[in-house]
Amino acid sequence: MSGEGNGAASGREPDDSGKTGQPEDPAGLLDEMRALRRRTRTARHAYWFPLVLFGLLTCLSAPFYVQWGNLSQAGATAGGGVPFAMLGGFPAITTQRYLGYFWLVALLGGLLLTLLWYRWNARRVGLQTPARGYIVTTAVLTVLAVVLPPLSQVSWLRFLSLLWPGDLVIRGTFPFVIIAVGLWVLAWAERSRALTVIAAVYTATALLAALYNVENVVFRLGWNPSGWQWRLTTLPNVLLPALVLLIAGTAAFAAQRHRAGAQA
């Protein structure tokens, strides 16, 4: 195949394709396109930022999980009149009353920053990732988490309560599940196997944090809390997902810098 010999504009274009000595056969052309696709995909990957951002936001949420109040009153107000119960859990069981407010602001603010990051990165690299699906999915899930509990109190909408199983939200770690769903959508948008693996590991961690008291594992590893330390026993459920995001985000950043250095 001649570099300029086949197109409608072939008669007008100087043949600059021949300069590079690129292969003409189908196998060479296919290899060249595969390499181009791989290079483009790698260049536009920018997912380290939302990983690190939501890892840091999870760390910032830790004080809201510390049981500052009287531990003997645990369970006294379970479920009744809780603001943003799907985001903040049931206060007086494991979380602080303002955890729901924190996660509402953190999730929507984090999404806004991620949107700005992808726009800035597109201008910098020259390639735009279709991140809108990720932003919309996570935002819609966050809004649903806010509106479903009050709506399910309405008599003719009680069936909506089936959509928020208490086991997933009671510990106040349901925001991790929302972040996990968002990561699957982002992995598809980024066409990244690495991010798919990260999303799988994070989803497992998020579900563990939502359904199980991770401190039991820490106890078996030798932590024997006494006195005020009991107030911190909910933190392993928070710090484990945060750790996954921070390690994955840092590794993705380092890998991207390494690849950029290798290409330059």
Partner: protein
């Protein structure tokens, strides 16, 4: 009554699936890159494909006239920016071209 033997099925040669507009290394490269992103910037295409600005413009015009890409002009601050977005027709043409090349390769092996 004489049995009529069925005519052997004539399979078209893979080269008949090659589209003149797409079957050009640089235009194929433009479609490959733009299919991988929501949109690609003129400067990235020029640098990655090793083309001059004039040459890239001509290739983009051919693809745009064929309805395979959309060209969007805008500004980033005061800098003019040209973004290229592949159309569904461009995606279909790229898939057909790659399928034809793969079939051609399979026949030669």
């Amino acid at each position: 009554m004489q049995d009529v033997a069925p005519e052997p099925e004539i399979r078209p040669h893979p080269t008949s699936g090659l589209d003149d507009t797409v079957h050009q290394r640089h235009r194929l490269g433009i479609l490959t890159i733009t299919a991988e992103a929501q949109r690609a910037e003129f400067g990235y295409l020029r640098e990655t494909l090793g083309l001059t600005a004039g040459n890239l413009s001509r290739h983009l015009t051919v693809l745009e006239e064929a309805g395979m890409i959309n060209v969007e002009k805008g500004y980033a601050g005061r800098r003019p920016r040209t973004w290229v977005r592949i159309t569904p027709k461009g995606r279909a043409a790229l898939a057909a071209e790659l399928a034809a090349l793969t079939e051609l390769l399979r026949r030669h092996q």
